[in-house]
């Protein structure tokens, strides 16, 4: 279970609070207007932004003392998920060994993941030589190799256009079936397609998660305002 216990995060003078839990393996959408603090909340779970109050717990373990790399968490950022000067295979390899000294077994592991994501033969290219969709897949391959139980998605595919985005979200659902996923999105369609639970983030509060279908069937006032 991922629990946000009385959490309060402040970034750039703006605060967001959350006090709820989601079961392991849940797919959760964080939806709400820009600037409501969705990304900030994700960054706090990942360990990039300190908590002003409260605790983040995974399976009853407080994550506070853990550095980002030591948390049971992997994250896809809005952009800059791949180092442009390293090859695709090297970028994926970093998930297994931050100094890129990979064993033969680990190299084979990278190749398997590339194959699985439809990037066979792209390992030696640099990210700049890939299409947007391929870059999204490569970034996904990186978190797949990190194999952490919690996956945080900060709108990583937002720039891709609706069709590609849907494909990649379907791919996430497939390859990260066992992971607990928190996904920031602006798009109700993403939430409906991908997430069984949704958290509405508005007015400085991340509300407790509710079933996505129920949320959109009877939207609260803040969501109605946002959907227009």
């Amino acid at each position: 279970m991922l629990r946000l216990e009385g959490v309060r995060v402040v970034q750039d003078g703006f605060a967001v609070t959350a006090d709820w839990a989601v079961p392991a393996g849940a797919k959760v959408a964080l939806i709400g207007p820009s600037g409501a603090g969705k990304s900030t909340l994700l960054l706090a779970v990942a360990g990039f932004v300190p908590l002003q109050a409260g605790r983040v717990l995974w399976q009853d373990r407080d994550l506070a003392p853990l550095a980002p790399a030591a948390r049971p968490v992997s994250m896809l950022f809005q952009d800059q998920n791949l180092f442009p000067h390293l090859t695709v295979a090297q970028n994926l390899g970093l998930a297994l060994a931050p100094d890129l000294r990979l064993s033969e077994m680990q190299k084979a592991q990278v190749t398997r993941v590339l194959d699985r994501l439809g990037l066979a033969g792209f390992g030696a290219r640099r990210p700049g030589a890939l299409s947007g969709g391929q870059m999204g897949r490569a970034a996904l391959g990186r978190v797949l190799l990190q194999a952490r139980p919690v996956l945080l998605l900060d709108e990583p595919f937002a720039a891709l256009g609706p069709g590609l985005k849907a494909d990649l979200l379907a791919l996430v659902a497939e390859v990260a079936a066992a992971a607990t996923v928190l996904m920031v999105t602006h798009d109700p369609a993403d939430a409906r397609r991908f997430a069984d639970l949704s958290v509405l983030v508005a007015d400085g509060v991340a509300a407790a998660p509710v079933a996505t279908a129920a949320l959109f069937a009877d939207p609260p006032a803040a969501l109605r305002d946002y959907l227009g």
Partner: protein
């Protein structure tokens, strides 16, 4: 964590070197009132620096404007040429200027034909001439960057409104010039305040002595440690005040690459076209003439340079390579920190000069050890410290954007220490590191300052060797050695820069 400790330790070391030197010279100054000779040196220093800065700024405006609004074959080469004098060893520039403006130079021969009084490149005029030669191109490049920072849309708007050159100057160019030109003039002023090699070769009379030169004279000729210490204190105070004032302005840093992009700015037709052409031609001649003279004069003697010159060249190469390595490594370590005090420490050497640091070190070591024995290590340390702020200013913005772009990804992957440096920092910053190393190496290679204080018969670097040959009127030999010096300086710069440009992706 380790990197933070490194940054703090290095910042303390820099503070010790700079403030320690300032403290030592202040403590050993034998009197606090300045005599007439000292006052004359202070007045001359400030006056020549102000004149040099003013003239460089004034002349740079028409040249930069001409370069910005005209397109012609060789324009790229002219802009590249503007980057060169900053890296040109000062003694070489002086030698070249003497060949053109000296008693038998082309200028005086022309004046003689016209029955005009000859021009003397010594004293105030000569010092200012050399400083303009060395700094005009720097200001031109800063102005070019300023012009290119004006959005092309504004020039298009001005065109669609039918504004003439006067109106464009008033509404678009003058507001930019006010900011950039002030900053540029201050940079030149600060650089000229600690002018040593130019004053040593073209000044030197009691009426044309900079404080920096007076320190050298007091230490080397009079061995008057108290007087040298007092002068060094004055020099440190002068530079510190000037740097503090200059620090309030945002400094354009334009000896970087990439000054040839952006849209074409409309150039007015008619007589202005010819005027622009004249400015560009005159500037190119002014810059190329002296260097060409050194090449012509030095080339024949290159083959039979004495072993002593080659030995000096070897020492200079060693100094340049090690000092550049230290400056780049130090700048990298300091740029990794965001602390305000670390930033201040990195800029601290700007307030010091070679002779101030040299005098401080001299006063500390001379009771213990023969200064000659330390000539090379001291030259290396002082040059590394003086080059560090330049390299730091180059690296800092790149480092900051690297952290902003990839800091989180690095942290998420647990990349730290050597792995992070090898896999991310080095490849991402390679370009600017190569360029910075090149600048540091060329500056250290050409520096004639602290080495003159410490070197005896056997520790002289190549610039000091050139100066000594000039002083003993062996001009052809001096020109050959100078040619070797330029060649090595630019080769070192080009090598480092090339390494940086071969960066992947």
């Amino acid at each position: 964590m380790a990197s933070r400790i490194g940054a703090i330790a290095l910042a303390l070391l820099l503070a010790l070197l700079v403030l320690g030197s300032a403290g030592v010279v202040a403590a050993q100054a034998d009197r606090w009132t300045l005599g007439p000779a000292e006052w004359a040196a202070v007045r001359f220093t400030v006056w020549q620096a102000a004149l040099s800065a003013g003239l460089s700024a004034l002349l740079a405006v028409p040249v930069a404007r001409a370069l910005v609004r005209r397109r012609f074959a060789g324009r790229g080469a002219v802009i590249l040429l503007m980057g060169a004098p900053f890296l040109l060893p000062v003694v070489v520039a002086v030698l070249g200027l003497l060949a053109v403006f000296g008693r038998n130079g082309a200028v005086n021969q022309a004046l003689g034909l016209l029955d005009l009084a000859p021009f003397s490149p010594y004293g105030l005029l000569g010092v200012v001439l050399a400083h303009v030669f060395l700094n005009l191109p720097l200001v031109v490049r800063m102005l070019l960057a300023g012009w290119q920072a004006i959005p092309a849309e504004r020039f298009r708007l001005a065109q669609s409104l039918g504004l003439g050159p006067r109106a464009i100057a008033r509404h678009l160019e003058r507001p930019m010039l006010r900011g950039v030109l002030t900053g540029a003039a201050l940079v030149v002023f600060v650089l000229c305040l600690s002018s040593f090699a130019v004053a040593l070769t073209l000044g030197g009379s009691p009426r044309a002595t900079t404080v920096e030169l007076a320190i050298y004279q007091a230490l080397v000729f009079e061995f008057d440690l108290g007087r040298a210490a007092g002068l060094a204190t004055v020099q440190f105070a002068l530079c510190a005040v000037a740097v503090a004032v200059a620090g309030r302005f945002s400094m354009p840093l334009a000896f970087g690459a990439g000054l040839d992009r952006g849209g074409v700015i409309p150039g007015p037709a008619g007589a202005r076209r010819w005027l622009d052409g004249l400015w560009i031609t005159l500037t190119a001649l002014f810059l190329l003439g002296p260097v060409g003279a050194v090449v012509l004069r030095g080339a024949p003697g290159l083959a039979d340079l004495p072993a002593s010159v080659w030995a000096a060249a070897g020492r200079s190469l060693a100094v340049a390579v090690v000092a550049a390595g230290l400056a780049v490594a130090g700048a990298l370590v300091l740029a990794g920190s965001r602390a305000r005090l670390i930033e201040l420490a990195a800029m601290l050497p700007m307030a010091a000069s070679g002779l101030v640091l040299g005098t401080g070190i001299f006063l500390v070591v001379h009771p213990l050890i023969r200064p000659e024995a330390l000539a090379l290590p001291v030259t290396i340390v002082v040059n590394a410290a003086l080059a560090l702020p330049f390299v730091y200013r180059l690296i800092l913005p790149e480092m900051r954007s690297l952290q902003a772009d990839y800091g989180r990804l690095q942290a998420a992957l647990g990349m730290t220490g050597w792995a992070a440096f090898r896999l991310v920092t080095l490849p991402r910053l390679r370009r600017v590191l190569g360029f910075g190393a090149g600048v540091a190496a060329a500056l250290s290679m050409g520096d004639l300052g602290v080495n003159a204080l410490f070197a005896g018969e056997n520790g002289a670097t190549l610039p000091l060797m050139v100066q000594r040959l000039m002083g003993s009127y062996r001009t052809d030999l001096a020109a050959a050695a100078a040619l070797l010096l330029v060649g090595l300086s630019f080769a070192l710069f080009a090598l480092c820069d090339r390494w940086g440009r071969h960066a992947a992706a």
